[in-house]
């Protein structure tokens, strides 16, 4: 109630990254978006991963067919100041189950085009996305950014534009933990100039099972590593919700729907519901479309 009365509401921009692929970034963005939307938030998903998996999962139209896509968030001068041009990038053709969710599609050309253009033409190549998202912040209740699995200029733009970030860690193997130190160092190096107020939400354990010894061990060692690093205020905490492992996640990706629609009583459905609730409360996210 209070949030909706507040005219100065600025929506949080949550970036989800880890340069390791396959740790659950897209799954998290897609299902978190669906849960936020179901709870009455106006949600915008920005897909800056050239693999465009989030676009394909959420969107009813193949991302290749869009003439306007995330490239314009970095390279088109008009979108920097003109909200109408920016609005033209947002697509509302979403698959069933994604109520109140809009998205800006990615394209396989995104990385090449953006890197080439910004290196030559931009004075502040890391802050192009930020300039655009600032214009969109009062039109949505929450914005989610799906990042590519690379420490590229795209990721750099995402961490400069975000207000919060979380890092999914797949505990089913030791691999996604390996790159974590590099990632945190990169963020720590880049953000002081471009985004000093960036808040670390914590690590999100995915495909996690507390009953399997190796996963339990990885989670614990990961906790210790975070505490040793002391990079960000809040480092050392992991998110209070973790995502279980389930075959239904893959099934939902085939069916192009949120996991809630595939398996309503699945534990992963509940995990993302709980994660959404936790973030709604912690970040005081507005639910302006709540019936």
């Amino acid at each position: 109630m209070q949030a909706s009365q507040d005219n100065a509401y600025l929506c949080p921009i949550i970036a989800v990254y880890n340069q390791k692929g396959g740790v659950g970034k897209t799954t998290t963005v897609v299902n978190l978006a669906a849960e936020f939307g179901r709870k009455g938030c106006a949600v915008l998903v920005i897909d800056v991963d050239p693999q465009a998996n989030a676009s394909t999962h959420i969107g009813a139209i193949d991302p290749n067919l869009y003439e306007k896509n995330a490239i314009a968030l970095f390279c088109d001068k008009k979108t920097r100041t003109d909200i109408a041009h920016l609005g033209a990038l947002i697509s509302q053709d979403v698959n069933d189950g994604f109520e109140n969710v809009c998205y800006i599609p990615s394209t396989d050309q995104l990385d090449i085009v953006v890197t080439e253009t910004l290196r030559i033409h931009s004075n502040r190549p890391l802050e192009e996305l930020k300039a655009r998202l600032t214009l969109l912040r009062d039109a949505f209740d929450v914005i989610l950014i799906d990042c590519p699995p690379a420490l590229s200029l795209l990721t750099g733009n995402a961490i400069s534009a975000a207000t919060h970030f979380m890092i999914p860690i797949d505990t089913s193997s030791d691999y996604s933990r390996t790159g974590w130190v590099n990632l945190m160092t990169y963020i720590k190096d880049k953000t002081p100039e471009t985004n000093p107020d960036l808040v670390y939400l914590g690590a999100l354990l995915t495909r996690h099972s507390e009953s399997i010894n190796v996963q339990k061990a990885i989670a614990q060692s990961f906790d210790e590593l975070e505490m040793e690093m002391d990079l960000f205020p809040g480092v050392g905490k992991r998110l209070p919700v973790y995502i279980h492992t389930s075959t239904k996640v893959g099934e939902a990706s085939v069916l192009r729907e949120p996991i809630r629609k595939t398996a309503r009583s699945n534990k992963v459905t509940k995990d993302y519901n709980d994660l959404a609730d936790y973030l709604l409360e912690t970040l005081s996210i507005q639910q302006s479309l709540k019936a």
Binding site: N64, L65, E251, V254, R256
Partner: protein, 316 residues
Amino acid sequence: MSTDHKKPSALERLQSKIATNGQTQLKAISEVKERNSLVSAVNEASLDIELITPNPFQPRKVFDHEKIIELAEAIKENGLIQPIAVRAADDGYQIIAGERRFRACKYLGHTRIQAVIFDADDEATAMMAISENIDREDLTDYEVGQAIQNIAHLFKKKTELSRYTGKTRSDIYRYLAFNDLPDWVKGRLNGNPSLINRNNAQLLVSFFKEADYVESQHKEHVLAAFNMVEESALTQTLLIPKIRRLIRDAENPRRQSDNVVSKKYALNGKNVGGFSFDDNKVIIKLNSALITDEVANSIYQMVADALAELDAGSDN
């Protein structure tokens, strides 16, 4: 489609969904390929500048020489950052995009120029030139109109043309109106493309079609109005009303002649009255609060004396 009433198994359902997803993606990819197939990049090379000819579809009519020199200076300092785009023509290359850069390099006396060679047909050449240029603020409506005219035949419907160029349908008709203007107007436009905007192009075309427009009699008034626009004595919005006015004045000359005098009386910088004088009458207007009866009487007397003098003169 299976004919039995058994529901498909979960595996079958997923298999068919995966197949559909795959087909959708392949279809989209081939659609995009087709969309892009008009133009395909071949390679980049350093070409003999003498082998290169300008693009016949270039919408830009006037190249500002100073701007070319400016660009030349920049190229001299930093080199040519962006290669120009050309395609193979009869015995050389034709510019698709980058005529200003080409002119600047020629100005600098370069003998070779860095270019990307495209394998493009005429239609694609026109499209590339137009899409490179159409949204530039320094291109006049006439030049955009020419460019749109060049590619108009490539589209079956105006809606497609409008979609491709990003202009509204009614704007497309305004731009295309330039082509329906008589040659003597086009001649003026070739020398000064900013003379008429797209709105006036459309208005002029319908004006020329009006029943009481007779070119042999009225052309001079149109030209006069053009001159006034060029001299900044007339704004574009008033062009057609001005032409109508000029024609009306010429056909029904008012008795009011050229010797009209109109002056103002001012006191401490404020208007307090006026003096006007034409073929019919002389009017002196003054705020009476500022004038003593004496002055008013002496004005009356002065006029009366002058009339008396005329009277006396006519007696002679």
